[in-house]
């Protein structure tokens, strides 16, 4: 029987996030009203724009793909007790690896390019995460600080490479030439057409499948292997881990390598799947959204997928909203996203105590109480 102040698992994982989300949308609704627009119409537009049409769904899942990769990256590090703020930079450098393979081996058939592109993306991302990991494990430099700094180093390096090395000669925009068609990730439209299903043209592509695969892989690794157990023990209690014969430095480095490799998957979606070239600042904040996604998804792959789709819907619905309601510009959309992060992530437990009180209150009046006296905490 649950103690007072706690909720059954289904309510904690299902009901509480929904209540938080509704609260965030209610506050957003007030702001939208202050701007002189109808909140009902606005949310209808957002919902229709994000999940109401094939195109909307395509864009939503396309954004979600990025967030699944970065959300998993943050979650894996989190289980090892590390706060990886560097998914943005790891994704940026990981994308460089993917892009180099696509640019160099564009003449190869797709089935040969793909595994190399995946490996290069994961490898480059992992290398970028390795340095902060090493500094944390062996030198005690705090990983939050070093990963933040590595975001800037990644940005500097990429600006240099894009402006001076990779740029397509004779153009203004710092971006590479287009990958050859062999190196394009098949779009969802093409994949579904093969099985006879028509789907609107959107940037959604096969990388979504890779993201889901990565989520399953993370679940297996973290919850079903010795290595994952060591990871979680070291994350929960490093002293106990040492006592149990686990070396935290090795765990730290291993977790960060996996974290960076996952972030590096973003390039598969963004570069191979959508832009078909490497361009400046292509992660455009997905690494940071990944933190919110991991938080909301309780660092569990299933939760992360749900949270990533929610954020994808907010991105896509928000862009439709600012498209159709000129009064609501993109900054307002950021406000709505911010409120969702605030209430579902940072203040997730605000409604927990009242809800638990209500829950136990109902139980007390229940004719057939299940437990009698509540157990002391």
């Amino acid at each position: 029987m649950s103690a007072p102040g706690t909720l059954p698992r289904w309510a904690e994982l299902g009901l509480l996030p929904v209540i938080n989300l509704v609260a965030a949308l209610l506050i957003s609704g007030v702001v939208i009203m202050l701007l002189g627009e109808s909140p009902v119409a606005a949310f209808k537009l957002m919902a229709a724009g994000s999940v109401g049409t094939q195109e909307g769904i395509g864009y939503t899942l396309y954004y979600a793909t990025n967030f699944i990769f970065t959300g998993l990256a943050v979650a894996v590090a989190y289980h090892a007790g590390l706060f990886n703020i560097g998914a943005e930079g790891q994704a940026y450098i990981g994308g460089l690896g993917t892009a180099l393979v696509c640019l160099w081996l564009g003449a190869w058939p797709f089935w040969a390019v793909l595994p190399l592109a995946v490996l290069a993306g994961a490898g480059f991302g992992a290398v970028w995460a390795f340095i902060p990991a090493y500094l944390q494990a062996k030198r005690g430099s705090h990983i939050v600080i070093t990963t933040i700094m590595f975001n800037f180093i990644a940005a500097s390096l990429m600006t240099y490479l894009l402006v001076n090395v990779l740029i397509k000669p004779g153009q203004q925009s710092p971006e590479s030439r287009e990958f050859s068609v062999n190196a394009w990730m098949p779009s969802a439209t093409d994949v579904l057409a093969r099985v006879g299903v028509g789907f609107a043209a959107t940037p959604l592509n096969l990388a979504f499948g890779f993201a889901l695969g990565a989520a399953v892989l993370v679940w297996l690794l973290v919850w079903r292997t010795r290595w994952g157990y060591a990871l979680r023990v070291a994350g929960e209690n490093p002293a106990a881990a040492v006592f149990a014969g686990i070396a935290p430095p090795r765990v730290i480095i291993g977790a960060m390598l996996l974290s960076g490799a996952l972030a590096g998957g973003l390039g598969l979606n963004e570069l191979m799947g959508s832009q078909h070239r490497i361009l400046m600042d292509f992660p455009s904040g997905a690494g940071f959204v990944g933190i919110a996604v991991a938080l909301m998804g309780r660092n569990h792959p299933a939760g992360i997928i749900v949270a990533a789709v929610l954020f994808g819907a907010l991105y896509q619905g928000g862009s439709q909203l600012s498209f159709d309601m000129p009064k609501i510009n993109r900054d307002m959309v950021v406000v709505i996203q911010g409120l969702v992060i605030l209430l579902c992530g940072a203040m997730e437990n605000v409604f927990k105590a009242p809800l638990a009180k209500l829950w136990h209150g109902c139980l007390a009046r229940d004719p057939k109480p299940t437990g009698g006296t509540p157990a002391p905490r």
Binding site: Y160, Q171, P174, S322, F323
Partner: protein, 322 residues
């Protein structure tokens, strides 16, 4: 980049759609960047005021939205779409192919398609004049430049500025800094002020900025230090009257306004348009705020150089990516 008139080519004029529906897509900086995008927005607003025709607009917040916004605008019946900024070039290319009946105008890049008009500015020419002005007022022969990000467009400004300054004083020293490596570099006045202070500390007495909203900080630091700054894109002389030497003006507003008007009147043509000093597409700003700083002698030199650039007597190099 090929020059204007020569590059024009005849093309079929598409039958006018039942309703004239203009649209504009801004890039990352956003509509209120007090600089490049804002200037474009002013041009569109002016069109709206004059004709009473409303326009659709969209601000980009991630790379995928460029194509999405252009596609949606085209699909929903926009007849002319202005894409502001070179970053939209590849999206315009893709979408313009899908919607051959919709007119596209891209600013600051070239897209070679029969339904795309590419408007480019020769920023190096106005930068050249600003470099000259800076060198002419500099007492110790040391001036500064603060750019946003180290990208080809900003190198183009810097190169013109350096050439103009050296044209006046071959021994002049030019300090150069870029603000950052992420798009945040366009909106960081604090860092702009720090860079400017450091350049003033090293002896520069005039600083030219090409850094969007970051430049506001550069100009504030110049005022605080009692030195001079040079504004960019819009006429920023008024920001610190008497403390801004001049501004390198880029007539994005005029270009957007003209594009909408031409499209409405049926005189819009695809092709490459290059706007420089000769076309009044770029220039240096002279108004009551900097009248005392630009002495008649300086003005005479600048106007002479302007005429020489227009006639081709002075050749200003253009920064070419690789």
């Amino acid at each position: 980049m090929s020059l204007c008139a020569a590059a024009f080519f005849a093309s079929p004029v598409y039958a006018a759609a039942p309703a004239f529906a203009p649209a504009i897509v801004y890039d990352f900086g956003g509509k209120f960047d007090r600089s490049f995008n804002q200037s474009a927005s002013e041009g569109a607003e002016k069109f709206k005021k004059e004709t009473g025709i409303a326009f659709r607009e969209f601000e980009i917040s991630n790379p995928a939205q460029r194509e999405q916004a252009l596609t949606q605008l085209a699909r929903r019946g926009a007849t002319i779409i202005v894409a502001v900024g070179f970053t939209q070039a590849s999206a315009v290319e893709k979408v313009a192919k899908q919607f051959p009946a919709v007119k596209f105008t891209i600013i600051d890049a070239t897209v070679d398609l029969p339904n795309v008009q590419s408007v480019n500015f020769r920023e190096q020419e106005s930068s050249f004049l600003c470099g000259m002005a800076a060198a002419l007022v500099s007492k110790i022969g040391k001036i500064g430049f603060v750019g946003g990000m180290d990208i080809p467009l900003i190198r183009k400004f810097a190169l013109g500025y350096v050439e103009g300054a050296k044209f006046v004083n071959p021994k002049i020293e030019i300090l150069q800094n870029m603000t950052g490596t992420t798009p945040a570099a366009w909106g960081d006045p604090t860092k702009g002020a720090e860079l400017a202070k450091s350049q003033f500390g090293r002896g520069a007495d005039v600083i030219f900025h090409a850094a969007g909203a970051t430049g506001i900080g550069v100009m504030q630091a110049a005022k605080d230090a009692g030195r001079l700054s040079i504004g960019c894109d819009s006429n920023q002389n008024y920001l610190h009257s008497g403390g801004v030497l001049t501004s390198a003006v880029k007539a994005v507003n005029v270009a957007v306004h003209k594009t909408f008007l031409d499209a409405k009147n049926g005189s819009w043509k695809p092709g490459v348009i290059a706007l420089g000093l000769a076309e009044d597409g770029v220039g240096y700003a002279l108004d009551e705020h900097n009248r005392k700083l630009i002495t008649p002698e300086i003005e005479a030199r600048l106007n002479q150089a302007r005429a020489d650039i227009v006639s081709g007597k002075i050749k200003v190099s253009e920064y070419k990516a690789q």
